[in-house]
């Protein structure tokens, strides 16, 4: 069977898994209701099936993705597009929307990342959630998320993408608030939902602009349309407006300034969720969107530069905030925001494939870090405060080894995945020249910060004296089902850089594999942005840039590790000597607090005023008054019919005569 005919199975499998898991949850609830006294062992049999079912669904989707990828690679580069037949969803006269599945080089990479990392995280989650009474519900949500994410990357038009976009948002909301009994989780879910709504509104308005410009939401048609419009030289403003609004949508989903505040709070969800949704996949969908629409963004260089400013500011603010966090997952959350900033920095320089490269390696090492952190938290019974850890490498050696591999990749130590991907972004930003030189400098600073906070984590968690009662807590290594995915991800985090080695790499033909793979997708954007003159650096410059990156990573990794491997002294010193700076960094420059004070609270006040003054006094009064008036009229109308037969006949006769007179007088009113 031709590949295109079963493409829709890729999202359908996890969707099916989600439905099955939901049924299993319903059965479990029914069993608990039937036998309230029985132990969880007896009643939760069905729920235990959810893990294998959900993992199998994602695993099969991964197999299909691999098959789709290999089918794609058999085609000549310019013909690498597999598109399923279109289901005509909305047919509204001059405009119609279809739903179809599209696999091209870009979406095939996304498929592999989502299904591959997703499957590993599913396997891991089986151990992590083993004791949770709601595990079937958890896997139902998680599988639904994977289905929606696949819909997002597979859709050939923006409307289908938006369905996935909203779907992953919903699943994110559900999973952040998964432990809704716990204080603060449901507020965190709501915050994520509401903040994302701002971005989604921008996304929608941007889509409307595109419909206005091109009369379609099909993304390849939009790309071609942009090229045509540019030749005619009109509509530059509308193109920029649409690009800006879509970037606003990406800011919401990918946690960029000013909308990044939801992501640190989203860590309230279970750790596998943080790994899958809030590090590896969903938050990168903004990056995916920009790459997918690269001709549109390339046609709006002003928006691209603005994107660079936002990205650099986000990367710096979040990176500096990560330095001052005590919560292990908090560091990782701010680190994620910061790394997403890197990706957008690359996009702003037109380095589409470099951004995707960083997306992929980041998915490996950040998922690894989150999962390893989850393993740590699992091992120390739910504690997340790094100040109450220390010396854990003795108790959980395998977790420690994989975590260190992830941290090394994140900090960009030479030859690891993060080194190559981060460096490529910085190199291309440098090569873009002009205003991007400033952004490059900020990027270098953030690289130093990244190395520092990565090794600070390692030092605080795994080295130094134990800052908890070892007798009482007895930290333990996690089961194999959790450690195995860690090892696979650690392997990928170490060697992932081979996907896209720099141009100066000595071996012939091994450089830029991913870049060449994505070339058919990014060709149009490159043409529009660079007019065929892509910035080029001499080999010597490239070597120097690589050396600067490697040197910074090594120096600051050493500094971070050295400062924290013996204990907390450095943090205490910092807090005592510079309490103001420490507080500012910890609260991410007070942005969230400022939102609460200047936006959320005034809106709440306004809402209260509206509910009292407008709703109660104005609208309710009008509505109730109208209802009372209608009833009063009704009483009159009712009395009309109460008369005697003679009276009724008189009315009728009079009416007939009146009708006749009116008509004879000239026909009408």
């Amino acid at each position: 069977m031709a590949v295109v005919n079963w493409l829709w199975w890729i999202p359908a499998l996890p969707l099916l898994g989600s439905v099955i898991a939901a049924c299993l949850h319903a059965w479990t609830l029914a069993a608990r209701k039937r036998a309230p006294e029985a132990s969880a062992n007896d009643t939760d049999r069905a729920a235990r099936l959810a893990w294998p079912v959900a993992s199998l669904a994602v695993g099969l989707a991964f197999v299909l993705s691999v098959v789709a990828w290999s089918a794609l690679s058999d085609l000549p580069p310019e013909a690498r597009v597999l598109e399923s037949s279109t289901w005509n969803w909305i047919d509204g006269g001059s405009i119609s929307f279809g739903i179809s599945m599209l696999v091209d080089p870009l979406s095939s990479i996304m498929l592999l990342v989502i299904c591959g990392v997703g499957a590993l995280i599913h396997i891991y989650a089986g151990g992590y959630m083993a004791d949770d009474p709601g595990k079937a519900r958890f896997f139902a949500y998680l599988n639904l998320f994977v289905a929606m994410m696949l819909q997002l990357v597979l859709s050939s038009n923006l409307l289908g993408l938006f369905i996935g976009w909203e779907g992953v948002g919903l699943c994110s909301y559900l999973l952040i608030g998964f432990w809704y009994e716990k204080h603060g989780t449901s507020q965190a879910g709501q915050k994520a939902f509401v903040v994302n709504r701002i971005g989604d509104a921008c996304f929608l308005i941007g889509s409307f602009c595109l419909i206005d410009l091109f009369g379609t939401l099909d993304m390849s048609d939009i790309g071609a349309g942009v090229a045509d419009l540019l030749q005619s030289g009109e509509h530059n403003f509308q193109i920029s407006l649409a690009a800006l609004l879509l970037f606003g949508g990406a800011c919401g989903k990918s946690a960029q300034l000013p909308l990044f505040v939801w992501l640190p709070d989203a860590m309230a969800g279970p750790t596998p969720v943080s790994a899958l949704i809030h590090a590896a996949t969903m938050v990168t969908s903004g990056v995916y969107l920009v790459v997918r629409l690269n001709p549109l963004f390339a046609a709006a260089p002003g928006v691209l530069f603005f994107m660079g400013l936002v990205a650099a500011a986000t990367a710096f603010i979040a990176g500096s905030a990560a330095v001052a966090q005590r919560d292990l997952k908090g560091v990782l959350a701010y680190s994620t925001v910061s790394q997403l900033g890197y990706m957008f920095l690359g996009l702003s320089a037109g380095a589409w494939s470099a951004a995707i490269f960083h997306l992929v390696t980041h998915a490996f090492f950040k998922a690894l870090l989150f999962l390893a952190a989850g393993s740590v938290i699992h091992g120390v019974h739910g504690n997340q405060d790094m100040h109450k850890m220390g010396g854990l490498r003795k108790h959980m050696p395998r977790t420690a080894a994989t975590f260190i591999a992830g941290a090394a990749a994140l900090s960009g130590l030479p030859l690891l995945a993060g080194f190559f991907s981060k460096d490529e972004i910085l190199t291309l930003t440098f090569a873009r020249g002009g205003g991007h030189m400033g952004l490059w400098l900020v990027g270098l600073g953030v690289a130093a910060l990244t190395a520092f906070y990565s090794w600070r984590m390692v030092g605080l968690v795994f080295f130094g004296p134990a800052r908890f009662d070892e007798q009482k807590q007895k930290p333990h290594e996690s089961p194999t089902s959790m450690v195995l995915p860690l090892m696979i991800l650690a392997f990928l985090a170490v060697v992932g850089g081979a996907l896209n080695l720099p141009a100066v790499w000595p071996f012939e033909g091994s450089a830029g594999v991913l870049h060449h793979w994505l070339a058919p997708v990014t060709r149009l954007g490159d043409e529009i942005l660079f007019h065929g003159l892509a910035p080029h650096l001499t080999s010597r410059t490239e070597y120097i840039l690589l050396a600067i990156g490697a040197g910074l990573a090594l120096i600051y990794s050493h500094k971070g590790f050295h400062a924290y491997k013996h204990g907390l002294e450095r943090d205490e010193q910092f807090q005592n000597q510079r309490p103001l700076l420490q507080g500012t960094l910890r609260d991410a420059w007070g942005i969230d607090g400022a939102y609460t004070r200047w936006i959320v609270q005034p809106i709440k006040l306004l809402a209260f005023c509206v509910s009292v003054m407008v709703d109660k006094l104005l609208i309710d009064a009008a509505v109730n008054g109208a209802a009372r008036g209608a009833r009063a009229l009704g009483e009159r109308a009712k009395r009309m019919g109460d008369g005697s037969v003679a009276q009724t006949g008189l009315w009728m006769g009079a009416a007939a005569v009146l009708l006749a007179l009116v008509w004879m007088a000239g026909g009408g009113l």
């Binding site: 009704g634 008369g643 037969v645 008509w663």
Partner: protein, 479 residues
Amino acid sequence: MIALLDITALDAADLRGAAPMLAVTCGILLALAAEIVPALRPARGLAFLGSLVAAIFLEVQLIAAPAGEIFSGAFGATASASLFGLLCATSAIIAWAYSLRYYKLEAPYKGEHDALILCATLGMLIMCGALDLLTFFVGLELLSVPLYALAAFRRARRDSVEAGLRYFLLGAFAAGLFLFGAALLYASSGTLSLAGLRAASLDAPLALMGGALVISSLFFKVSVFPFHLWVPDVYQGSPTPVTTFMATGTKAAGFAFLFQVAFLMPAGAAALTGALAVATMAVGNLAALVQTDLKRLFAFSAVAHAGTLLLGVAALAAGDPVASGPLDAALYYMGAYIFTAGGAFGLVALMESEDERFLKLDALRGLGRRRPGLAAALSLFMLSLGGFPLTGGFLGKYFIFASALRADLLLFSVLGILLSVVALGYYLRVVMTLWMLPAEEGAPLLESKLLSGRLVTWLCTVMVLALGLAPGWFLERFF
């Protein structure tokens, strides 16, 4: 003058066009024969149902292949006339299904009751296809006289007798208006056939007066403001199955002819008709708001629905650019209304037959918990009457208002839509009473095991949903 019928000149088309009426006539004869020959009694129901089902079957045939003008132009077996006829026959079946075991004291005379219903149905069929004022009048009287008797059928009850008498006196008055109007039209134009009247100039005051009187009498039959004053008392006093029949069948037949004679209105009368439509909706809906008796509430609701249909007539008079738009809209509306109102009144009959009192709104309290099926069906009918989407009532309303808007009756459409919001005030009150208010202590269970009633309730439910969910199926086949 009408050409006298020569019985030998009847041809196959005449017979085919008249076949539904002949089927009903056979039913009447069988029903009466069963009164005389006791051996035929058990087959009474079969004869009734058989004749009406045969009539419906024949009407469906006629819709597919209309026989055209028959009986020398006195009767038109057109597709729309057949569709109206089909609706009237269906309405008779619905009313009859709810009437089984409804009567206690009058049970021995049930045969007469059924024969009278069949007579009225025959009258309706004639009214639906009449192309001649005199033919129509025959149909009208054939409908009205049995209905007078039916309204007073519970002769031991004062309210029933009063309803019959009131209906008879006012009906006779309306018939007088009709005849006088027809006479004036004849005096002015020398013809009674609609084709002749259409060809003649009707600008003379005499003709205008005649038209006004004819239309006034039709307004009386379909209960348009201010000719609706008889409705609440008659609907409430009549036995409920008869009310069901009056509210649905009579309205269908009346509007069928009203659409035929809309040309009698002078140019520019559309605004007045629209105003009357809105006034009818207003009076019906506002008065229904304050009713506590269920039957009276539905009676005023029936008045309001007549107003909506009249808006379709106004759209025709104002010249809807889609020529068949208003009539098709009214047909769809009527189709949904037959099943919705038929089901609603019928359920009242089902619940009422248990104890002899009038059914108050409060008697429905807590029914959602105790009899969820019945409550769900009644709720669906309320939602459809209120025009909720996914029900037949919504689409009917939509078609009517769409036609009115096409005909530039913007003001009346807006007012009409606003008044349908008012209507929700009482339709949703019924739904709320069913589901959200607890039952009173010691309230009767309102249980009814009547099989035919249940079957017809199911039929109505399915049809209301089908008309709302799959309009294409009906529009393809019947329009």
